[in-house]
Symmetry: C2
Subunit: 296 residues, 2 copies
C-alpha cells in the first residue's frame, strides 16, 4: 500500500464530505460565516474525520449518517484552534502557513467565529437525524461529541495547559493529563462515534476508545518532537515556539530519543490492540502506523 | 395573583433545578469549572428556564426530561454574557453588580469558561436521554437549541451587532434583525423546547415560536429603555452605557415614548396569540404581561 497516496485519497474524500456542510456566506451575518469558513478551509490533514469514517467502515457502516458527524468533529477541532491562537491565549499569527483568524478578521470576530463553529458543530451533527431517524446511536454520538469536547475532554485539557503556563508548576503527571484531554479526547470521540453509529458493541467501543487514546497521545508527542526537529517550511508554522513560550513539553521531560521511542511504542500498542477486534480495516491500521513517521 | 411573589417562587424553583446540573469544582481543571459556576451563579432572572418549564407545563408536560434543557439554555445564555463582556467585545467590568468573569479569572480563562459553558450545555441537554430514552422530542430539542444559539440565531445576531459598532452603518431594519436573532432566538428556543418535549403539535409549536419572538423583542426594547431611564442601583450595572458606547438602540430610532408603546403592543399581541391555544397557563400569561412593566 502506498500509504501517502492512500492518505491523500482519503483526505480528498473527507474534504469533499465535510466542506459540503459549511454554511453559505450570505445575509447580515456574512462576515462571521466567512471567518468560520476561512478557518475551516485553512487546510489540515482532516485526521479526525478520516479516523471517524474508517472506524465506521471497520464496523460495517455504509450510510451517510456518519457525514454530519465528520463535519462536526472538524468544526470543533477548528474552533479550538481559532480560540487557541487568540492574543489572550497563544497569540499566534500563522497556522499552516496562513494568517490566523484574528489577524484577518480581528479579535472580536475571531472569538465569535469560534463560538459559531462550536455551536454549528452540534447543529450539523443533529442533521444525522434526517438521514437515519431511527438510529439509536445518534443520541449517544452527540453525548460523546459534547463530553469529549468539554471540561472532561478537550477544553478541560486546554484550560489546565493555559493555567500551567502562568503558574509554572508543570509536572509530568499533569502534562500527561493535559495531552490525554487536549488531544486524545477528540481522537477518541472521532473513533468512538464511528463505532457507535455503525452499531459496534459496548466492549468494541471500549477497545476503540483505548486505541484512540494511545493514538492521540502519540500524535501529540510527535507534535512536540516536530516543534524541535522540523523547519518552518515543512511545518507551515514557526518552529521552536514551545521553547520560545517557555512551554514544558513531552520532549522537555523525556528528551528527543525517548520521546521518539514512546511514539513508536504507543503506536505499536494501539495497532496490536486494534488487531484484537474481529473486524479489520487495512487502511486504518496503516494510517495509525504512518502517524509515527509523519514529518508535519 | 401577586405576580412578583409568583415570579420569585418560580425563580427559586428554576434556580434549584438548574444549579443541580452544574459541574463539581474538582480535578486539575478546577479553575475553569469555578469560572463557569461563578458566571452561572451571578444571578439573573432565570427567565429562559422559567419560560421553558411553564411552556412545557402548558402542554401537559410532567416529567423531569425538561430539567437538563432548562440548565442547558441558561448555560448558553451565560456563556454569551461572559464572551460579550470580554475586553475585545464590550469590555464590561460589572454585570448584575458583580465583577465580570474576565475581571476575576483573566481573559484567557474567561474565553475558555465561555467555551466550556457552551459545550457543557449540549452535554447537559443530552442527559435528557437518560430520563426519557424514547421521547422523540429530545433530538428535535437539541436541534432547536443549537440552531437558535447559532449563526441563524443568537451568535449571528451578536456578530452583526459587533460589526455594526465598528462600521457605523446601523439601520432600523438591521437593528430589528439583530434583536430578532440576538435576544428573541433564545426565548424562542426556550418556549419551543418546552412545547416539543411535552409533545405539542407542529402548529402549536409555530404559535409558541411566534409568541416567543414578540416577547423577546419586547424584552430587548425594554432593556434599551431601562438603559436610559433606570439607575445603577436598580439595574446593577452602569446606565447610559449604550450612549457611552455610541450604540444605536431602539430608543435612538423611535424615542422613549414610542418604544414604551411598542413594548406594550408587542406584549399584548403575544398574549392574544397565546390565548388562541386551547391549553392555558395563567402564570405564563401573567409573566408575559409583567415583562412590560419590569424595572430591571
Amino acid at each position: 500500500m502506498d500509504i501517502k497516496a492512500e492518505i491523500g485519497r482519503h483526505t480528498d474524500e473527507a474534504e469533499q464530505i465535510i466542506t459540503s456542510y459549511l454554511p453559505e456566506e450570505k445575509g447580515y451575518q456574512k462576515t462571521v460565516i466567512e471567518a468560520m469558513n476561512y478557518s475551516f478551509l485553512a487546510g489540515g490533514k482532516r485526521l479526525r474525520p478520516i479516523l471517524m469514517l474508517e472506524t465506521y467502515r471497520l464496523f460495517g457502516g455504509k450510510s451517510k449518517v456518519i457525514e454530519p458527524f465528520m463535519a462536526a468533529i472538524e468544526m470543533i477541532h477548528t474552533y479550538s484552534l481559532v480560540h487557541d491562537d487568540l492574543p489572550a491565549m497563544d497569540n499566534d499569527e500563522y497556522r499552516r502557513g496562513k494568517k490566523t483568524t484574528h489577524v484577518v478578521y480581528g479579535e472580536a470576530m475571531a472569538i465569535l467565529a469560534g463560538d459559531a463553529l462550536l455551536t454549528y458543530a452540534f447543529e450539523t451533527a443533529a442533521k444525522a437525524l434526517d438521514i437515519e431517524p431511527q438510529n439509536p446511536g445518534i443520541g449517544k454520538a452527540i453525548r460523546i461529541l459534547s463530553a469529549k469536547a468539554g471540561i472532561y475532554g478537550m477544553v478541560g485539557g486546554q484550560t489546565v495547559d493555559v493555567e500551567s503556563e502562568n503558574t509554572c508548576d508543570m509536572t509530568k503527571e499533569k502534562l500527561d493529563f493535559i495531552y490525554r484531554l487536549k488531544t486524545s479526547a477528540l481522537i477518541e470521540a472521532s473513533m468512538m462515534i464511528g463505532a457507535v453509529l455503525a452499531g459496534a458493541t459496548g466492549s468494541e467501543q471500549k477497545i476503540v476508545e483505548a486505541v484512540a487514546s494511545k493514538v492521540g497521545l502519540a500524535f501529540q508527542i510527535q507534535d512536540d518532537i516536530l516543534d524541535v526537529t522540523s523547519t518552518m517550511e515543512v511545518l507551515g508554522k514557526p518552529i521552536g515556539s514551545d521553547e520560545k513560550n517557555h512551554k514544558s513539553t513531552y520532549v522537555t521531560y523525556e528528551g528527543i530519543e525517548k520521546s521518539k521511542q514512546d511514539v513508536a511504542d504507543l503506536s505499536e500498542k494501539a495497532i496490536a490492540q486494534m488487531e484484537t477486534l474481529v473486524v479489520k480495516n487495512e487502511f486504518l491500521t496503516e494510517l495509525l502506523r504512518y502517524l509515527i513517521s509523519r514529518e508535519k
